[in-house]
């Protein structure tokens, strides 16, 4: 023992020295690393604005770079990769079928892509690099909200318009000037879930008096639940309880026991994926039969993997989605078809948000060219152009791809007409049931196993 102790002291000393040396090296490296990208950005960042702005009429814009920063690697790569596929498809359609940006003499869009990685740091770095090297006036990204926030910090500083496909409400509550979000934010998901249920109840002549709202306790889940709670209160529904739980719970029986005890007419549930399987199975196993259980927040219950994992337990569950692949508008049908043809699968939410977001970009560029022919790509001009848009099914492709069919931006960048589609599991298959149901599909409401007197 003493020998080890002796050794230990000299060991700790040498370890301490080693740590100090490493820290110094990392410090120097970090200094250079942060200086490196900063150095080119300072001289170059004025260049994107100087190239179009001081010599306004002369250089004809023939190509506009559109940035895409998505998690292309790591845990969220599935979403990022699909977003990239969707972006490539839409850019091709804009350039080839729609003849580019007409008001800019048919200028073409060029997609420049960067990998946001898994962490806010990597997302920030990706944004720095993309802006420094490519100078896109508009960037789309980054699906995961914390990555989106990191990208927004950079785009805001560099005055680049960021079209966000991250859904957490707070992204548009930072006072950021150059951000826009066509996609329905988290609370809009909660709101839509409640609107769907209330509309269905009214249609069937049922009265909903009480509800329980439960969500996994991430920021996203929290915002979705808040949206639902506000809407329920608006309808005068009594909220018996609001339960927040960690998504990795081992056992949902205590939660479900509480639901049974409270016995609400409806449950609005905002799960992640793992807990959704657990909760649905436990609700079935414990024999809890409310009028309706509506999911919100686009995770769990109705996605193919959850249906595979939970089987019958998720029958008649619904969830909210930022995109409706079944919306029967001319352009939506066409783009879903083209996506299927090119990639051999149905577009999910990650692709859908990119569909309409990029089409909104096209509309904004047309508008900017119309409003500011001398300097359409100036960030402030672009911002005004986005704010001036008022898109619906008749005047734009973008709105035809959007669940509610309307896009108009508020000054904070959010869509005033944000809303989701509702997907329901019927006979073990997910079907869009609201607001534009799939042909031949009727929403199942109330739950057929509901024991309450209709």
């Amino acid at each position: 023992m003493p020998a080890i102790l002796n050794l230990g002291i000299s060991k700790t000393a040498s370890i301490a020295i080693a740590i100090i040396v490493i820290v110094i090296i990392i410090g120097i490296a970090a200094y250079y690393a942060t200086q490196q990208p900063a150095a080119p950005t300072t001289p170059t960042s004025p260049s994107p604005t100087t190239s179009p702005s001081p010599t306004p009429t002369k250089p004809k814009i023939t190509e506009i770079k559109i940035g895409l920063i998505e998690p292309l690697t790591g845990t969220h790569a599935v979403f990022g990769q699909e977003a990239k596929q969707a972006a490539e498809l839409i850019i091709d359609i804009i350039n080839n079928e729609l003849g580019g940006i007409k008001n800019l003499g048919g200028a073409k869009l060029k997609l420049v892509v960067a990998d946001a990685g898994e962490t806010p740091e990597s997302a920030k770095l990706a944004a720095e690099k993309l802006i420094a090297e490519e100078h896109p006036p508009i960037i789309l990204g980054a699906y995961i909200s914390r990555l989106t926030a990191a990208v927004a910090e950079v785009t805001e500083r560099e005055k680049v318009i960021l079209i966000m496909d991250g859904l957490v409400d707070s992204l548009t509550e930072q006072g950021w000037k150059y951000v826009f979000r066509a996609a329905p934010k988290a609370s809009a998901h909660g709101k839509s879930a409640v609107e769907f249920v209330m509309e269905m109840a009214k249609k069937k002549g049922l009265e909903i008096k009480t509800a329980v709202v439960m969500n996994e306790d991430s920021i996203f889940g929290h915002y979705v639940a808040q949206g639902a709670i506000l809407k329920l209160k608006e309808y005068g529904v009594k909220i018996l309880d609001h339960i927040e739980y960690p998504y990795d719970i081992a056992d949902a029986t205590p939660l479900v026991s509480k639901l049974k005890e409270l016995n609400p007419d409806i449950v609005i549930s905002v799960p992640y994926f793992h807990d959704a399987v657990l909760i649905a199975k436990t609700i079935k196993a414990m024999g809890f039969h409310p009028m309706f259980i509506a999911g919100a927040g686009a995770c769990g219950y109705t996605d193919p993997e959850s249906i595979k994992a939970a089987g019958e337990a998720v029958e008649w569950y619904t969830n909210t989605y930022s995109y409706n692949p079944a919306r029967p508008t001319e352009w939506n049908k066409k783009i879903v078809e083209e996506f299927k043809k090119r990639y051999g699968k149905l577009p999910t939410e990650a692709a859908g948000i990119v569909f309409y977001s990029l089409m909104v970009v096209k509309e904004a560029l047309e508008k900017a060219a119309e409003m500011y022919p001398d300097d359409p790509l100036n960030p402030d001009h672009l911002r005004e152009a986005f704010l001036a848009l008022d898109l619906n099914d008749n005047n734009s492709i973008a709105a035809q791809l959007y669940p509610t069919g309307r896009i108009k931006f508020a000054p904070n960048g959010d869509n005033l007409y944000a809303g989701t589609a509702i997907i329901q599991v019927i006979n073990g298959e997910p079907h869009v049931v609201w607001p534009d149901p799939e042909p031949g599909i009727e929403p199942v409401f109330p739950r057929p196993d509901w024991k309450g007197g209709g």
Binding site: T75, V78, D217, I243, E244, Y245, P246, D248, I249, A250, D251, T253, P254, L255, S257, K258, K260, E261, F273, H274, V277, L278, K281, T282, K284, A285, M286, G287, E305, S306, I307, K308, A309, A310, G311, E312, A313
Partner: protein, 291 residues
């Protein structure tokens, strides 16, 4: 908020007891390995996770109830356990605790990332079980799957208890646990005892996984959940053999159920660890600590 419905309380004690039985079963393998071999198997929870995936694969390909897959996975996990012991654990038996910890943590990382690689982060579940219905006893509801899982757990705990106390093998195990060198001098083949103990400990995780899959799902991070709980249960039980594991498993189960349902679901782990600290405060060697 603090107004507690008495029925809800009773219901949750029942919920907690059944979940506690499953927790005890999960922790039993860890207790066995730690008790006999003095090795903390940090990968314990991740064996449960791998077991859960295996249960999923077997149940969905053979189309049998998840509980039945234990007949295949338990012997398989015994073999895997022995192999892991021979391949990895035996080499670090006399080594410093830090090395042993590093080895089992390494094993944990391998298993977890293997699952992440093969199954991604998506949850997998067996979409059927014959026990997916509720049993109502007056105002109390028990999910049939829990009842079955609880009974099977109890039987497994009892059998391991009998093995340890009534058989030659068990006596050899306990002798080895008490004093390895003396046991060796008495003619006990310690390496063999260790191999069997490790195999048995791992095969118990397969049984637990099969039962868990009747109501839950497999995901790559399941190991973290059950691993942490197992350590708490073993530490709290104070290495008091099967009884200690059972007692602390039940305490954790009931505290968790009441905490989630009556106070706040978000603070679930708070209740578990506060109870843990409180018990160690009064009984530093655990509920049934000896030595």
């Amino acid at each position: 908020m603090i107004s507690v419905e008495p029925m809800l309380l009773v219901q949750n004690i029942v919920n907690g007891v059944f979940m506690g039985l499953i927790y005890s079963l999960v922790a039993l393998g860890l207790a066995l390995i730690f008790g006999v071999m003095d090795i903390i198997n940090f990968a314990h929870g991740d064996f449960v996770m791998i077991g859960a995936y295996l249960t999923f694969l077997l149940a969905t390909t053979l189309l049998v109830d998840p509980t039945l897959t234990a007949f295949i996975t338990m012997p398989l996990f015994f073999v895997i356990g022995v192999a892991v012991y021979k391949g990895i654990i035996e080499r670090v038996l006399g080594a410093e605790p830090l090395i042993q910890i590093a080895v089992t943590v390494g094993l944990l990382m391998v298993l977890r990332n293997l699952a992440l690689m093969i199954f991604k982060a998506e949850p997998r579940g067996v979409p059927f079980t014959v026990f997916g219905f509720p049993i109502n006893v007056g105002p109390i509801t028990i999910a049939a799957s829990r009842l079955v899982a609880g009974i099977v757990s109890l039987v497994a705990l009892f059998l391991v208890h009998m093995l340890l106390t009534r058989t030659k093998w068990g006596i050899a195990m306990r002798a080895t646990a008490d004093d390895r060198e003396v046991a060796e001098l008495m003619g006990i083949n310690v390496k063999k005892v260790y191999a069997v103990t490790f195999g048995l400990g791992i095969s118990l995780t397969a049984l637990a996984a099969a039962l868990i899959m009747t109501f839950s799902r497999a995901d790559p991070y399941l190991g973290l959940l059950y691993g942490l709980l197992s350590w708490v249960i073993v530490a709290m039980g104070g290495l008091g053999g099967v009884i200690g594991v059972l007692a602390s498993g039940l305490i954790i189960g009931v505290i968790e159920a009441i905490g989630i349902s009556v106070v706040s679901a978000g603070a679930r782990e708070l209740f578990i660890y506060l109870t843990f600290f409180l018990i160690l405060w009064f009984r530093p060697r655990g509920l049934f600590g000896r030595r």
